[in-house]
Symmetry: C2
Subunit: 564 residues, 2 copies
């Protein structure tokens, strides 16, 4: 009530005299009513799922003063009485805010502030871009970036330090592979990190080398050998990176994101944003291993903070690496590298110990598993632990990318969430064929099989590995074709899912995966008013149109946080 009064006082003080009468009178009427009035979004092509997962269409909705959905309005319904504000949607499509079930918020921000090689299609192009970036940033002591993909370059080998030497004078260069599972250093970076021919790779890592001499590429755990030499970012740097990441997410209509691997520094960054009113996107945080939870929480997940904007829900572990860098742990060797079955990060006992440690404190467990052997191991661990850790646990398997078809039915048991990234399928398909051979493809990126077997499906982007734009994800899910329309009819098309299923995986499914389905993910009375206005209805038109969808406005908690 104080708020209304203050607003009336401000009204008289700050408005031009000619506007005072009408506007302040309106406020005076509001003061006489028992509460602030709702807002009203009208004239939209509204689409949401309901509690049963069915599509509801509507033409407007009201927003309560505390930022929740009041009610959905149909054309012809009685108009809301004296709304506090009104937005004319001009016939645009209104969707629930998109939720990214798997992303790396701080990495997105830092990568957006560093050199991005993800659009390079050849090594020469990359070298030119590095040279230009180094020249444009003479103040950077290290040239940092990422996004390179030797597969896309059709290089037929990893790049080398020699490819980088000379591009940035004597400054160290360190560039992450597109999947984050490998890094590429120049000689100056290796010198700064003290890496020599005698340096041994740590467990779970590999140093690419020729005749015992490091070539410049470090895989999985071995990336730490270089990374540790980079000056740590300050908290101010982190705040800047977070702001950048949030801007990008809001611009793509992402209103919530599961942050997969929150460090203590990341958490403090989100808290600073929340403390100072800069936290707009909702973050469902999964700690980077058990340690952050032991410091931040006390025997249970944190409470929902900042009006449902932040919560540490669970813990992220890694069972293996990634496919591109042959770090994914396979049952049989890679088709394109005989004798190498990838990197399994943990033995069975260690995995179960870590999962137990998280589960006993009520934390949700989210385990990265790419290869079929890693998925098998995680499924076995869940099956072994489920009788002890009863109740609604929602064990999450992140990526669940390459699954032995015999293991697919196991995803339907014990309430498992399959947290998958549809765009990976289109980006990876050629590489996956090379790594796996034809016989192992039927269980790859098997979204429809997951649903058919009763798994809870949630979709994300794995940003910054891929763009956090969810619409290419929906397009991939309903077509299994790339942005180029290839392969026509879809890759392993038996795994195509419906538009409703794809939309659900990016909204209600992703909310469910984070224990947030009681407050976000769909538009219904009492739910947070998180919605977006877009230029295309994803339930309609060809996949290419869905992929090209543009977000006009993003609203979170009843407030507009992005406008094109």
């Amino acid at each position: 009530m104080t708020r209304t009064i203050n607003r009336r006082a401000q009204c008289a003080r700050f408005l031009p005299p000619r506007l005072r009468f009408r506007h302040c009178l309106a406020l005076a009427i509001i003061v006489a009513t028992p509460a602030l009035a709702d807002g009203w979004v009208d004239n939209v092509n509204g689409v949401t799922l309901d509690a049963q997962g069915k599509i509801i269409r509507f033409t407007g909705l009201t927003v309560t003063p505390d930022g929740k959905v009041g009610k959905l309005v149909q054309r012809g319904d009685k108009a809301p009485e004296r709304p506090d504000w009104k937005l004319d949607g001009k016939g645009q499509t209104l969707l629930p805010g998109m939720i990214d079930a798997h992303g790396h918020v701080m990495e997105l921000g830092f990568s957006a502030l560093t050199l991005d090689l993800s659009d390079t299609t050849s090594l020469d192009q990359a070298k030119a871009k590095i040279t230009a970036y180094a020249a444009a940033h003479p103040d950077r002591h290290w040239i940092l970036g990422g996004g390179w993909n030797q597969e896309k370059w059709q290089l037929g080998r990893f790049p080398t330090a020699a490819d980088l030497n000379g591009l940035a004078g004597d400054r160290p260069i360190w560039l992450s592979r597109v999947d984050g599972h490998a890094g590429w250093a120049n000689t100056a970076a290796m010198s700064a990190a003290g890496v020599t021919a005698t340096t041994k790779a740590p467990a779970g890592g590999r140093i690419e080398s020729v005749a015992g001499k490091p070539t410049g590429v470090f895989v999985d755990a071995a990336t730490a050998l270089i990374a540790k030499a980079i000056p740590a970012p300050t908290s101010k740097d982190r705040d800047l990176a977070f702001a950048k990441a949030q801007d990008i997410l809001l611009g793509f209509g992402i209103t919530g994101i599961a942050d997969m691997g929150t460090t203590l520094d990341d958490w403090n960054t989100y808290r600073r944003a929340g403390d100072t009113g800069r936290l707009a996107v909702r973050i469902y945080s999964y700690a980077f291993g058990i340690e952050p939870t032991l410091t931040i929480a006390a025997g249970e997940p944190t409470s929902w903070l900042y009006a449902d904007h932040l919560r540490m829900v669970g813990v992220k572990f890694y069972a293996d690496g990634a496919l591109g860098s042959r770090g994914a742990c396979l049952k049989k060797p890679y088709a394109d590298k005989p004798g190498d079955s990838g990197l399994c990060f943990m033995d069975d006992a260690k995995m179960k110990n870590l999962m137990s440690r998280a589960a006993m404190d009520g934390f949700q467990v989210a385990i990265h598993a790419i290869g079929d052997r890693a998925n098998d191991e995680v499924l076995t661990a869940i099956e072994d632990l489920a009788p002890t850790y009863k109740g609604d646990r929602r064990w999450r398997i992140e990526h669940a990318q390459i699954v032995d078809p015999v293991d697919l039915p196991r995803f339907g048991k014990n309430g498992i969430v399959a947290s998958m990234q549809p765009v990976h399928q289109t980006s990876d398909r050629t590489m996956a064929e090379a790594r796996l051979g034809a016989a192992r493809l039927p269980g790859a990126y098997a979204w429809k099989s997951m649903l058919a077997n009763g798994a809870h499906l949630a979709f994300g982007s794995d940003t910054p590995v891929e763009s956090p734009n969810p619409f290419p994800g929906i397009a991939a899910a309903i077509s299994r074709e790339g942005a180029d329309g290839q392969p026509f009819g879809g890759w392993q098309p038996q795994e195509i899912i419906t538009r409703e299923q794809a939309l659900a995986a990016f909204t209600t499914g992703a909310a469910y995966a984070a224990f947030a389905e009681d407050r976000v993910g769909r538009l219904a009375p009492g739910f947070r008013a998180d919605f977006i206005l877009v230029d295309h209805d994803p339930l309609d038109g060809p996949p290419a149109s869905v992929r090209a969808t543009k977000v006009a406005e993003t609203w979170i908690g009843g407030k507009r946080v992005f406008r094109k």
Copy 2:
């Protein structure tokens, strides 16, 4: 406004029918008014300082719905109209909430949960208490506690491991000295920590030994040799300790406390309390060294959190140890230990580097300085840094205990805050005489000289070194006599200050010292409604009555948080 409506609905739902009519009608009237009404505390002997430091007396005050002081009411003033609630103070004295300018919140909690030897007057008594505690707590793997003081025991020596062996079976025992600057281990604790005759004391520490063999007492930095072997408390343990500390503080009328040395774990504990509505006392946090600020904050102090309940304001450093353990850094050797001048923790360059690092991020600097040489060093560092770090810096010297009289005028320059603990004077005086000799006493615990020289004086308890009860502190400040009335007329009585000055140092002075004087420390319109009801007026009666003051109620932010 939503709140009012909810309350009316609850009103009908939860009240017995016979009460519904009158009570809910009253609420209905409130709904018709433009805001929730104030509360009214009436019929009190109200005392506060005003902005000029003068005493104001009043008979009541109003509390706004958001927990601030509405106005002070004098007998005969028009009564507040239709207050939301009313409290009859029954003639009790109402004071601003007491602010402890120097305490250790988590240590207070942990010490209250562990063995307390502070009331023992002999080694035999202590041994009996340890034996009983060990028997009563068979589940504790380590017997932990503190509060011992060999001076009080008149032991003439430090205690030894041999004194402890056998009291708790084969369990390790580790007991802190009353000042926290030394610890006492049994043989099992030294074995668990791997301490042997060859163990060397770290810089800034000392291992008490006879013929090269550790006797069991570890001074200052050497305490870490044992402490590192103690299993770390969990976050749940910390939450429990915090709750205990807060209960103790509220019971003594402490509504705010400067936490002198907040670790990252401490900070997360306060945040958990704030996040879940369990943070009642206001905490002005000074980080334990620079590291926590680098993680928690981003180039500036945090914002005020939880409606002014928590803020990281500054950084705490240590220039020396304590007097009892002869760790205080003196200009000339100890009178009772020739050749030993104590422990100076930092050279001039290191001290200035640390202070600069904090000051450049806008953090307030608080430096522990007990001995006259340590105080001289800190004063010099401030004088050297003040021209660079301009503006309102409020450099704090914690304890400022033994000051060479020639250095006293320097406290009046550069806006220095002398953060002192009056009860230390009464507890330490015999020991101080022994350590220092008569010639060095005129600059010891020199409160009046601090004020006369223009320093900003703030008082605290150094809890858990002393009880956080502020009333013995006020009594000491106005009498320089102990609880036993000794020495009659006061020790170094020229340093006695007035009651108004003592009250100010525990309220407005302590608020000023934490950059909080614009919101707490006195009762005036717009200030947080932090106040206490006590059974004695500290501006009246003999010091013994002031010392015995009992707190009946403690209110913070307009809410009662303690009732006797």
